[in-house]
């Protein structure tokens, strides 16, 4: 079993190496990720959002609904951690007081 998974990992490594040939060069200004939507963000951010920090403008304004979802995920993870670790406790332990 271990040999099979090792062979699979080696195979996957070569797939990743092969796929790297199709990716854009590092620092190429005309690569696909830098040509479609991001120039519009950079050019229009100050007019529309009045905020020089484009990352904040994208995060909180253009994609604010997405960030709302992310915040809910973080909150849910925090609640889940607390609930997992405190389930099955006696009532007297739940007051947050220790020793």
């Amino acid at each position: 079993m271990r040999i099979v998974s090792t062979l699979l990992l080696i195979f996957f490594t070569f797939i990743v190496f092969y796929a790297a040939a199709g990716l854009p060069d590092v620092g190429d200004p005309n690569s696909a990720p830098s040509t479609h939507v991001s120039p519009r963000y950079i050019e229009k951010a100050y007019e529309e959002i009045h905020s020089p920090n484009v990352v904040t403008a994208v995060l909180a304004d253009y994609r604010g609904y997405d960030t709302l979802g992310e915040t809910t995920v973080i909150f849910t993870a925090g609640i889940a951690t607390v609930l997992i670790l405190r389930a099955g406790h006696k009532k007297s332990d739940q007051g947050g007081k220790r020793e």
């Binding site: 904040t56 915040t71 909150f75 993870a77 670790l85 406790h89």
Partner: protein, 145 residues
């Protein structure tokens, strides 16, 4: 982590360090639209300041936030974020459309930093409180189960 591991050296250096860390966190939050920064980073900084206080001075440190308070604060932060979205619904805008707030400004776009600041405050409170709650839950020592 019920017992703090502070010594005299840590205690004195902590007194000078932590107020600056917390102040820097608030600066990163408020200045987030004009310089590198934002809600997530500010939340991490504030949480680190409070966790340092708990590590060095223990539970009775004046900066400490207990785990239960942290969970409440996390919910409050998410509520602030969602509340800003709902407020813009009241003036017949879309969710999180900050341009519809009824304030006197020259251009509609000047309202956007206000809305961004509002939701960044919510994100900061949520992230800081969740980190503190996770830390508190993971280091709590008890014998149940």
């Amino acid at each position: 982590m019920n017992k703090p591991f502070g010594s005299i050296v840590l205690d004195i250096s902590f007194r000078y360090l932590v107020p600056f860390i917390l102040m820097y966190g608030i600066y990163v939050l408020i200045h987030g639209e004009y310089s590198p920064g934002g809600g997530f980073q500010a939340g991490a900084l504030l949480a680190i300041g409070i966790i340092l206080a708990r590590l060095i001075q223990g539970e009775e440190s004046s900066f400490n936030i207990s785990g239960d308070t942290a969970v409440i604060l996390a919910g409050l932060g998410t509520l602030i974020f969602a509340g800003v979205g709902v407020i813009s619904l009241i003036w017949s805008g879309n969710v999180l459309e900050y341009g519809v707030f009824p304030l006197n400004v020259h251009k509609e776009s000047e309202l956007h930093p206000l809305g961004i600041l509002g939701i960044e405050i919510g994100v900061t409170i949520c992230v800081a409180a969740v980190i503190i709650a996770i830390y508190d839950a993971l280091t709590r020592r008890d014998d149940a189960i």
